[in-house]
Each structure stands twice: as C-alpha cells, then as structure tokens.
C-alpha cells in the first residue's frame, strides 16, 4: 500500500502516463512554471521539460481546440482547464468539435483527448468560481465524463481515459485534493462502472464526486439510527452505469440522489428517471434528491454552506423516505 493524497495520486497518474507514452503531454494554464493552480503538476516541468508540460496563454478555447487537433494528429494530449468555470469559454470546441468529429467524419478521424478540470464549490470563491458542471456536461453525446471521488480513482482513471479512443473529461472536485489515504501499489480501475462504496439494504444513496464523503458520513449517521444505507459512487457520469443503479435500488427499493449540481436539470433528475424507467415497480417510495440550491454561489460562508448539499440534509431525506 502507498500513503498518498488525491493531489499526489493525480500527479503520479500523469507522470506514469508521460513515462509510458511519449505521445502524451500536458497542456494548460500554469501547469508548468507555476506548478499547477492546485499544485497537481508541480515538478513535472522539471522532469519532462517545456515541450511536454506546456504552459498556455489564457486561451481556453484556443488550447482546448489545439488539444483536439493534436489528438487527431496522433498525440495523446491531456488538456488541463483550471476549473470548469472557465471551461464555458471552451464549450464550442468541446461540444461542436471534440464530441462530433468522429461522427461528422464517418469514423475517419477520432479525438483521443483527455480534458481535466477542477470542479465544485465550498471554498468561498463566489459565483464565478464555484460551479459544479460535470453533471451538466453528461448531457453531451460523444463525451465520456468521469468524476473520481476517491484517491484510488484519482490515481487510476487517467490511464484508461488516455487509452480511450474518444474524448474523456475528468472532473476533479477541488475539495478532494488534500484527501489523504492509502492506495494499492498497483491501481487498476475501469471507467465504465459505478462502485458500491458501502453496502446497505434499506436505502440507496446515489452520488458522485464531491458528495461521496458527505453521503458516506450520512450513511454512518443513519446506521446509528438502525438504517442500513448503501452508498453508490457513480464514478462515470456518461455513460451512466444503469445496471449498477437498478441493482442497488432493486435491493433497497428506496433512493436518495446526492448531486452538487443546481437542482433543476441536474444529473439527479436523469438518474431518477432511469430508475423510473427501469425499476418503477420496485420502488417503495418516491426517489428524493439533495442538490445545490438554485442560486449563484454566495461568498458568505454560512450562505455557501446552506447552498450546497450537506450531510444533515441527506440524513433527513433518507429518514423522510423511510417515514422515520
């Protein structure tokens, strides 16, 4: 086992990917001389040089598009967009090019591109720096959306993402970077399946990314009240692992979906609909969800906390469903 952090695990993943494939390179704002805005790429410039650790100008659309072209041209680029808030500037390249070129070309050109970005709120960064958009991105055909919520996934998801012949977006919740823990020496994970992070029989807590920890904490509390909650970490937001979701709900017959996205039109709705489509008759109660309030993120700490999913809300939602 290795003692590490989410941040180091991601750095290690990038390093080994760079070592394993000379066609892999990292490109983004401040990934080099600054060491990465979240210090993920710290030290890599020294190790791999400026050709493969490329600081870019502030041009999200430009360097994301360049990543698309480089991928078509035979490279395996990792594009880092500092945060999903800035990815809006690159959305044309992501939705209109990365997600469509294979299709528009009838399969002649593919885009084996990985785009990493930080996501999420909770650090008092206000309305322009606190979006949680991974669930929203999961609407776009042609993309694979990953949300590593554990150190092991931070370490393991990049390799299969780079091996994927199509564009993969990895959303790293910024609150997780400091998470510390042990992971196996050899990490090998897939980017197809959800994972049960805690077994349970009374209710399923379905979540991903930054909300996994809160959901596990809620399950802990519920256990104290004699409620056995299963926690399902979606891991892959597109394509969704329907089977895993339906199997869990078929067992527990109840579900709370925890999603940091703004409530309306968040991924939580899609998950609930999939359950309705695939397991309506197995439900003993309507599905509940705990999401972010529909407000641009306020700066004041108490308001930000109130705006985001909290363990107490998850516990309350579970209790209510179970009529406790």
């Amino acid at each position: 086992m290795i003692q590490t952090t989410y941040r180091e695990a991601m750095r290690e993943a990038i390093r080994t990917a760079m070592q394993d494939d000379p066609g892999t390179f990292l490109m983004g704002e401040d990934v080099g001389h600054y060491g990465g805005c979240y210090a993920v790429s710290k030290g890599l410039l020294k190790e791999f040089g400026p050709q493969r650790i490329r600081d870019t100008p502030l041009s999200e659309s430009g360097f994301t598009g360049a990543g698309i072209g480089a991928a078509i041209g035979g490279m395996r680029p990792i594009v880092e967009i500092m945060t999903c808030n800035f990815s809006l500037l690159a959305l044309d390249q992501i939705m209109n090019n990365a997600a469509t070129i294979r299709h528009m070309s009838g399969g002649q050109f593919t885009v084996p591109l990985v785009i990493r970005m930080a996501t999420g709120g909770g650090r008092q960064l206000g309305a322009q720096h606190s979006h949680s958009l991974e669930g929203w991105y999961a609407h776009i055909p042609g993309l694979r959306i990953l949300a590593p919520a554990t150190i092991e996934d931070a370490r393991g998801m990049l390799a299969p993402a780079l091996a994927d012949p199509d564009p993969v977006l990895i959303f790293e919740n910024a609150l997780l970077y400091n998470d510390a823990g042990e992971i196996p020496d050899e990490v090998s994970v897939d980017i197809d399946h959800a994972a049960i992070r805690r077994e349970g029989s009374d209710i399923s807590l379905i979540t991903y990314g930054g909300s996994l920890g809160k959901s596990l904490a809620a399950a802990e509390t519920l256990e104290g009240e004699g409620i056995s909650a299963e926690v399902l970490d979606l891991r892959v937001l597109r394509p969704l692992d329907d089977a895993a979701i339906l199997v869990s709900v078929a067992k527990t017959r109840r579900a709370v979906i925890v999603d940091e996205g703004w409530r309306s039109g968040s991924l939580s709705a899609e998950i609930a609909m999939r359950i309705m489509e695939g397991g309506f008759w197995t439900l003993d109660a309507p599905i509940a969800r705990v999401c972010s309030a529909e407000v641009p993120m306020p700066y004041a700490r108490h308001l930000e906390e109130a705006a985001m999913p909290g363990t107490a809300q998850i516990v309350a939602a579970a209790r209510q469903i179970l009529g406790r």
């Binding site: 360097f63 994301t64 072209g69 044309d92 528009m104 399969g107 042609g142």
Partner: protein, 331 residues
C-alpha cells in the same frame, strides 16, 4: 500575369492546364450542385465557392500529400483540389454512405483521411484551433508537414481566431492561415465587422508574417502560397495570407442578397479567375482552344460520373443510427 509574383511559378503548358483544370472542376461541380439542390437531391445548407476558385487551387499547389488541410462549410472546392474524389464528395452531399463522410457530415462537413483533409467546419472560427493542434502534433512528432487552414474574413472577428493565431505564433507552429477575404460575412461587409480592415495588421499583432494577394489571380495566389509555405518549412513559423476575392453566388441558397448590388457582383464576375487565367494562357500560347475544349469534356464526364455514383449510392441502414458516436467497443 507576370512580375515577381510569378517568379517561383513554372507556367508551362502542363501547369497551366492543371491550374485551369482544377478551377474548372470546382466551377462545374458546384454549378451541378446548385442544380441538384433545386431538385432536392442535395439538402441542408449549400455554400457555393464559385468566384473564389483561384484561392483553393493556388494554395494547394504549394502543399504536399502529407500536409493537412482544414476548411470551412464552403469547402467543396478545397476538397476537390486536395484530391478527394468527386464521387465521394457528391455522394456525401446526397447523404449516401458512399460519401466521403459516410453521409453523416453533409456539404458542410467533408472529411477524407486519405488526403489529410481534416474537415469542413461549420462554426465560424472553430477550425482554427484544430488546425493549430494538427500542426502541434506534426511538430512534436518531427513531421515536416504544414497545415493549411482556410477561413473567411468574417472569422477574423471571432475570439477563436485571436487565440489560435497567438498560439501558433507563440509556439512557431507550421500553420498557413489562409483568409479568404470575399468582402462579406453573409450580409455583413468587412467595414461593418472590422475596425481595422487591413487584415495584415492582425497578423502583425501576433508577430506573424503576412501578405495580401489578389485572390482572383491563381498565379499570384500560387506564388504567395509557395513563399509562405517555404517560409514555414524554413522554420520561420506560421504565416498569414489574405486572399482578396469575391463570392459570385449567394451566401447560401437562402440568401436574397439585399446587402450588395447586381452591378458590384457583375464587376467582380468580369474579373473572374477562370476567364482571366484562361484568356491569359491562350494569349500567352500556353494553352490552345482545343486544350480547353478537351478539359471541359473531361470535366463534364467526371461530374456526370459523380452524379451517377451518388444516385447509385445507398442509404446507411437506420439501425446504424448510433454508430460513430464513440468507438464500437464503447457503444
């Protein structure tokens, strides 16, 4: 058709024949497309290149087979000259699976791996960053290739133009930016879209070599393209080429052309690149009437064959609807 510009262009019989052939292929091909559009064999948007043929033909003379090309939704001509078979292009416009994009792309999204024709892009400015990336991939893999990126003058106002130009120049990437200045972006005249209409000043802001050339003169375009591509291959970094040209037809088949006068169009048609070059070549004795007649025949044959091919083409089975969204193993 002389002066320094032509110096690097060997205007012998064979080459004159080739230049005229390529321009005529585009012209006749698109005249046929317009006809087929009214017959509803071709659908969607159809953006004709008629009038601008000298640009695609002149530029392509400077490219090698391993170079890459990125174009716009007005790209039939570029694809044809680049070597994408007329059959495959026409079938694509029909939406048949024998099309160069399997019928998935249509007129605005022609792609062909064999000739490194990396697409028609329909988001104005959207192809530029992709072209920069293709050049980056070539550079990082030590391939001495150039990526020619075509776009209209309207794209110059887009942020993606700015970001792509700066990145290419900053990283000295082998990109030839070909701005086809046909004076209008749909109905918006250049002076209504740019506060500075001398487009070379844009390149200067990125420290990029730039030249403006008469885009109605195929020889001047070829000469300028050879200079620019030469500079790129010599490691002088990306180059910007403004080709001053004109679109003879409507922007698309829906355009009533309220924004320009018939006279203006006629004036430009008078300076048409094909007539002009043909007349020069004839008077210069490089071509004979018989050559031109033979060309026309050959091209008519090629195009009717293309139409036959497209007509005979087949529809992709509807069960394949979800193909090409991701790699098979992933679907």
């Amino acid at each position: 058709m002389n002066g320094p510009a032509t110096s690097k262009v060997k205007l012998d019989h064979a080459h004159c024949l080739e230049l005229l052939r390529q321009m005529l292929r585009i012209r006749r091909f698109e005249e046929k497309c317009a006809e087929l559009y009214t017959k509803e064999r071709i659908r969607g948007f159809l953006h004709l290149y008629i009038g601008q043929e000298a640009v695609a033909v002149g530029i392509m003379q400077a490219l090698r087979p391993d170079d890459a090309v990125v174009a716009t939704y007005r790209e039939h001509g570029h694809a044809l000259v680049r070597g994408v078979p007329a059959n495959a292009i026409m079938a694509e416009m029909y939406g048949k699976q024998e099309g160069c994009s399997g019928g998935r792309g249509g007129s605005m999204h022609l792609f062909d791996a064999a000739t490194r024709f990396v697409g028609g892009y329909a988001i104005v400015g959207g192809g530029l960053p992709v072209a920069v990336g293709l050049a980056l991939a070539d550079a990082m893999q030590g391939r001495a290739c150039v990526t020619a990126c075509f776009f209209g003058e309207g794209a110059v106002a887009e942020g993606e133009f700015h970001e792509a130009m700066n990145l290419a120049a900053l990283w000295k990437l082998p990109v030839l930016f070909v701005c086809e200045n046909n004076l209008y972006a749909m109905g918006t005249a250049l002076d209504l879209s740019e506060s500075q209409t001398d487009l070379r000043t844009k390149a200067a802001a990125y420290n990029m070599g730039a030249e403006a050339v008469d885009g109605m003169n195929v020889v001047d375009v070829e000469a300028a393209a050879r200079r620019a591509v030469g500079a790129i291959r010599d490691g002088k970094g990306p180059q910007f080429l403004e080709c001053q040209t004109y679109r003879f037809r409507a922007h698309s088949m829906f355009d009533p052309q309220l924004y320009r006068t018939k006279q203006e169009v006629e004036q430009w048609v008078g300076r048409g690149p094909i007539t002009r070059f043909r007349n020069w070549a004839l008077s210069a004795g490089e071509l004979r009437e018989a050559d031109v007649a033979a060309l026309e025949e050959e091209i008519v044959a090629e195009i009717s064959a293309a139409v036959e091919f497209a007509e005979a083409g087949t529809w992709e089975p509807v069960e394949n609807l979800l193909h090409h969204v991701g790699a098979e193993k992933r679907i």
